[in-house]
Symmetry: C2
Amino acid sequence: MYPGLTKEQVCQIRERLIREMYEPHEVLFREGDPAAFLFALRSGQLKLTSSMPDGRQQIVRIAVAGQLLGIETFKGQRYPFSAEALTDVVACKISHDDLRQILEASPAIALRVIETLSQELDQAESLIRDLGLKTAPEKVSSFLLSLIPQRGDPSAELPLRLSRREIAEMLGLTEETVSRVMADFARKKIIGSGKGYIRILDRKWLEETNGVKNKASSAGRRALSGHS
Amino acid sequence: MYPGLTKEQVCQIRERLIREMYEPHEVLFREGDPAAFLFALRSGQLKLTSSMPDGRQQIVRIAVAGQLLGIETFKGQRYPFSAEALTDVVACKISHDDLRQILEASPAIALRVIETLSQELDQAESLIRDLGLKTAPEKVSSFLLSLIPQRGDPSAELPLRLSRREIAEMLGLTEETVSRVMADFARKKIIGSGKGYIRILDRKWLEETNGVKNKASSAGRRALSGHS
DNA sequence: AGTGAATCTTGATGCAGGTCAATATCCCGT
DNA sequence: ACGGGATATTGACCTGCATCAAGATTCACT
């Protein structure tokens, strides 16, 4: 759990970690709050959202077990987003200074933090790609594919914890559009959808729609060709 | 430069860093290439782009001096984007394994990497926000404001290294739309624009347009109100 | 089981921004 | 200073998705 540390060091760390539990809809912190702590998600999922003064909201990330939140403020003063539990959540809270000391003491932990951060960055950049250049059906495909667990049976019922509105807030769409696209997918037997779950029926089709693998036939948006 | 290390360690590190220089438009690596190295940007700027098979392109990040690229692949196999120099660039190349060893040897360096990564994550999440919920003029405002240097004179001429097309590829718009919005801003004396540079004339206006501070008057998109 | 509130679906309509097209301007080499 | 290719601007039009508006389902209580 804490590689490369003496027993004493482990004790010191444990003292500084505050283990906390949250229920669905509970808010860990709000955008703009002074950033006192950061959190390591032990279990459950939560959504990180940023909003504009007029109420428009964007889900910036869905955090899953193992990820860190609030580390964006490592050099900042305020949380750049709100964090709200989607499920029951267990998280460890730690102050920036304490984390800094732990990282200085244990390169192994630092390395793990770096791995986590680099994955989060990858995830964020992937969402940027989706938001910037995909059409509504492509975005939804992308989202649906992201629900498939790495190590899990192919086409089981996947639990869907996000409401239509939340999916929309993640993909930069409206709930109506998400609803329409999913209804369309269901009509085409690409997915089966029930209450609170989804079943992927035609993964290949989704992957093609998503990545637009071969058929450069009907590009939704204009393809900007490279220069020179 | 390398805090907390013995002279010998510093030598070891230097041996493993490969300093390289690139000219504008030169490509450091391409999306999908096997990820052999990662890079630390010493000076200059470059764009990281991801594209779809039909040619649509998205600028995922503009990397500036101090940032790392390719660390997204710390646990991955292939670069998730291409990297192309926008200016003359000096970068240090290092293999993942070597980096790992260095990080294990020097917590101080690991800490710096963590700080850099957390800033990059913050930057990425900020772009997600822009892409997901802003209108074209808001996106352009946001972009223009991001050009203003932290420590620099207020309203000097800011060099603009990105073409209209590149700005468009970053903001999820088309070059025509960017052109129109900027022409409109210039007409309203919000900015002055010449070849290869921009002058911010009315920063306050941009900040209001960007953040939609007070006036909840004419929201471009529907504001989704919170739940419960 | 019944009632109300939230969520989801579906339809009709409108508009922001994409698309297509035609100049205009810049840049660079000769 | 001339010519040609890249880049930028501008106009006219069109479409994908937002918006507005009803219903339909589902869920949580009592």
